[in-house]
Symmetry: D3
Subunit: 281 residues, 6 copies
């Protein structure tokens, strides 16, 4: 759930950054205080919506009298021209909040759209698409929510909610087995353990020691298939590396449970959304 | 200047988000407290660096004894394999801070790289590339800095440091002339005024009224050339819309002073940078 | 515009400072919880009002059921005895919030009153009165707003929204011309450049190099007149130093565009405003 | 004691307000990064210093390598031209932090100077000068410290650390006696109780009921003398209203223990302090 | 008074800590968004209630549509099974906020209950029970309020609102008399002074010098009685050390004014309070 | 790991609460600024230490020149009289920071001590003792750390890092099976699911559906034994309810994996630790 308590904090920071010390001097100069307007939030491109509560909060914090009526909710698909929301109220507040609202909604919808693209490509398999910790500092909770809106699953939210043993950890620990044993001694009973393996030998070591999930990084399709066979449902199989709309289906078809891709949250293209004002003159 | 006072606040937020309530449980379980390591921060792709102070701060805040030695400074160009920095100290702290450091450095360098691409494409003209307010909420100061590292110029930082009259403002104000007159009455003496024009008639009106800069949005090359002629150095000419590495040169060659592009800050691809650990075993 | 988002933050800090850890122990001991009252906010001296939204917010944050009805709005002139606002609701909340409300309203109205005094004195000229960065740390946005309420104009809001090259900058840069050239290389297209000049020779150098505004500090009336002639509308002329109600008219009559005075924000006298309670017994 | 923990918070807020989102763009453009300088902080007027730790902190937070050497400590008296401190280090940092440092030091020294003026005028009596809660929101702790630097005493710091029953409280409570009785029932054993009295009859009532201190507001000198006689050291006598350098001695000579004046903290004139740069060229 | 301004800050921190980055994933998964419920907050043990405003705030911040109707107010006594409040609204919000609400209400009621136990035991004497500064960092204001709900009095709220000279201070100052003299020179007129004495000789010294209160630490009943006789109402007598339900009456009967006990705030047992859901299926 | 980044935030809040607006007025009055001292932090009771980094941070934030030398580290056992740390530096800073340092160290050590008591009692079994979410708002991360210092394990840190389906969830969801199915659809691949069962029938349903852990609340020893047999290592078995030093061994001997107890964090007795000053006179 996206609690307003979390959303409010992020949106306030965004608004304060934009208002600076003097506020919206253009709007104050040019738009009369009593002018009211109605505008529509419109998709300019096809995609999936995520983050309407951030947009609603931006308008609300600038002027609580602004009405924000959702037409296509988060996780909904849009085509160019679709009306996502209708916004009505004092023109000054709407114009002032617009950019911050869209600075949340556009990128989050971009993440949802990119995720949806992979999710659709692998819908015929049992695999799910998931994100990573390669997120924008301070906005991880929002970006992970956008992944869910796009039909994806969430990986860990931080360093503290699951154990993920990567190549460097293994090298320092002296191998797969000592790393896993140390992790098990340390982990609370509700903490899962995942380990990155680079070869089928390492995979067998990890499974022999016992582990909740294995990360199969940058393996060929053949190797993935073989790995899935070895795992044989004794652990969750996550494939990472080179996941994109073109490759996802083939990778998912190897039988892995998860595909993970950092670019969903750090390099996906914004979904172009704009505000169309009505009855301005 | 990127004051540590501003950087620290953003990096602390990023680290707290990643550490959560329990800290890095993997590292604590698997890496001995007294293990030290040296690692190199390496470019995996070609680009321009931006944000090393954020990365340095991330390591410093986790463990002040970590040394961070810069080899290629912000604004420097890198090729795949280039060592950007050398990091030495307790292995736990380095592993814990790594992701947050890269979550700043990668996207900021991506922005610098994208900006550099346009800046290089228009280097033979007098035009400069600039960014917009389409930035990540809370990180605008950092993203605008990255644009400068890539050879770009900065547009306004917020709603309060310049007047930019856009189409909706003009519609509400009743036209170019009343909008400009209202703006001039309101503006402080160190505040510049820019206005968006959609036709050459509007451009002539704006120039007749007097204005510091004009935003020429989505005009054809021919129209831009004609606009530049009309402006005749009486105002700064900014072209926006469809600016990309392929189009930038032709647009700049029309004689405009500035090209502005929102995608630099909201949709540019991360620059792939990684940490290579040495002497782990 | 004075957004509630900015006002709320400042007023919360003021209230928390005054409530401490135990709250208003006098009021809690002495005033029954169910006692209601009506009181009037009254000017005890003549002046100009600024900051009613801060006062309103103080009462609102202590008890949202308190009604705050404005009779003389910000920028309005008052005479001793004039009722500025009527406040009605639970007596405890009104008494508790009173001091913080007045600690904003009195000093801000004092700034507005002082500004109005200069503005009136120069109303027959084209000159405007403006403030400086000599403000109370943390309250600059409020004090600059008060200057506007008093009929003044705002100078820059911080180090980041305009370039102002002062004597020390010039000395370090090696002169007017190199300083201006460096500034122009660095400035964004919406950033204006102002430079302090100490002689007519320096003024001519600055104008020859091109600059948006010149700061004429502590010049005699004759020198100011000569400077205005030299400038000849090619830059904005700002006079500073020894601006007060007695000198302002003569300085403005030299033809300068702006008079700036730091004391407006750092040393102006509070406007005496009090709360008169009705029907207490 | 002025703990750095409290000072740091206030100075950080002041610096962030001044740096905005882009930092000191003038200094960055005009002053080379490697230029070092020495400057002296010099009194331009006679007065008493207060707030050097705020100034030191401002320079330190901008650049920890800046040296700040105090020559005349807080509470010390200065004459025009006296060197208060010597500051040495990178020129950029010194120039950037200068205004915020002075925005603390000047007004706080102004408060100390005004307080010292009253304290000197009443030095031949047993009376002390004290401040009120009419302070700048967020900076009360600093302003109360400045009063101490000027030889004054501190009144309560907030609504929670002492009980002060004023006219409105008394009116609502139904008189001096019921108000005092309610206060005593409520007060903790380390909380003192003071009450405002408007007549000698009220004073006698208060003393009969028992109270720690009485506030004698706006009484004539004769009435004050009579009140002091009635009090007869059974309570602390505080006189308020019309306290200024011309009236203070006579009021103090009535035998009261305290003179309180709100203008010390809300309307005292800044002490003019400047930075003189050496060896800039 | 417990101002919402203070409560809100503490409850927001508690909720954010519990929601983390992903919110209540159990509730989101298992409880339909449109399910509404009514539940009762029930005492599982006998005691005294304190902190209902914290509980109410927790539900309110998660979902403002949740109704929170108090049946037994703060300071009220409860028996096992008593309904303290009735809560109605969306089931998701109620389930999500429940733990944080109880994490405030249970421990605060535990403090009130423990305080009430002592207060009842000494009700036949003039003595009152009071707390110390041995509180939970960040929650002192709440815990001191709970002491008041239990019929106790509050000691100082911090290091800054009264002078309490303890054994270490005395040793460093060189004795009772120099310590008291230094304190009197320093204290504002509304600041009381209390001193710890370890012998009757020290007590006589303190009284001779003059002091507002004396702390009699760990004295025998006989010694306390003798001390009370010596004090003879010239100062407040506070006994501390080994105060518990079994010893309090005898200590109070020695004639002291106050009993102080740190365990009330740092080691009292939580009052067991739970939520009973109705009509869930 | 207890990162200083997290500790600093909590300790700063505690210090600011104690310093208030005027700082430590007793110490400032009574202790000379240049007095130095050495003191020992001494256990007054037997127990286990937790929280030394909080104590160290308190002294450091008040005065960075104070040395804090640990003699018995976190998780170490102490007997009455054992020296835990030696603290040396300016007397003022040590006296000022002492209470906040101990307000962290005492309660956290109390939690560690209580946990150790249970951990020792069940050391002959495979079971571990764990905590719950019944923690002090804002200090959960610290209290969970204290549990680890006492030899305990941590349950989830918040609502977001594991799914724990309790009786109310099950009632609303319509039973064990639909609740578990909903949870599985919702949970990320690294999120474990635990469910509370109230009967062996419910236990069998849960195991049949598949679950990571089961919470056996308030079951008799016989029923626990039977449950353990049914579970047969297919899930983690957690027993809760009535866990105390007297009952823990018998409960652990039933074969469960975990014992959980809320009182460890909400009602354990503080460990009495004091500061002994040397060479004060």
């Amino acid at each position: 759930m996206m609690h307003d308590l979390l959303i409010e904090q992020a949106v306030k920071a965004g608004l304060r950054e934009d208002l600076g010390r003097a506020g919206d001097i253009t709007t104050e100069a040019v738009i009369p205080a009593d002018r009211r307007t109605v505008c529509t939030m419109v998709a300019r491109d096809a995609g999936v919506i995520a983050g309407l509560d951030f947009a609603r909060m931006a308008f609300h914090l600038i002027d609580p009298s602004i009405k924000f009526e959702v037409r296509i909710a988060d996780a909904g698909r849009v085509q160019p021209g679709d009306v996502i929301a209708v916004i009505a109220g004092p023109a000054r507040g709407i114009v002032t909040a617009e950019r911050v609202a869209l600075n949340f909604l556009g990128p989050l919808s971009g993440i949802a759209t990119a995720t949806r693209g992979i999710a659709d490509a692998i819908a015929h398999t049992k695999a799910r698409i998931t994100c990573t910790r390669k997120t924008t500092p301070g906005l991880r909770f929002a970006q992970k929510y956008a992944v869910r809106c796009g039909g994806g699953a969430n990986h860990r939210f931080g360093l503290d909610d699951a154990i993920l043993i990567k190549d460097n950890h293994i090298a320092i620990a002296g191998g797969i087995v000592p790393a896993l044993q140390a992790a098990k001694r340390h982990a609370g009973h509700l903490v899962k353990i995942e380990i990155e393996v680079e070869s089928l030998a390492e995979l067998r070591d990890a499974l022999a020691e016992g582990v909740d999930a294995v990360l199969l990084d940058n393996m060929s399709l053949d190797m993935l298939r073989e790995a899935v066979g070895i795992i044989n449902n004794k652990a969750i199989a996550e494939a990472s590396g080179r996941i994109n709309p073109g490759t996802a289906a083939a990778i998912a078809e190897t039988g892995v449970d998860l595909l993970s891709a950092g670019w969903l949250t750090h390099s996906s293209k914004i979904l172009d959304i704009g505000l169309d004002f009505e009855s301005l003159g």
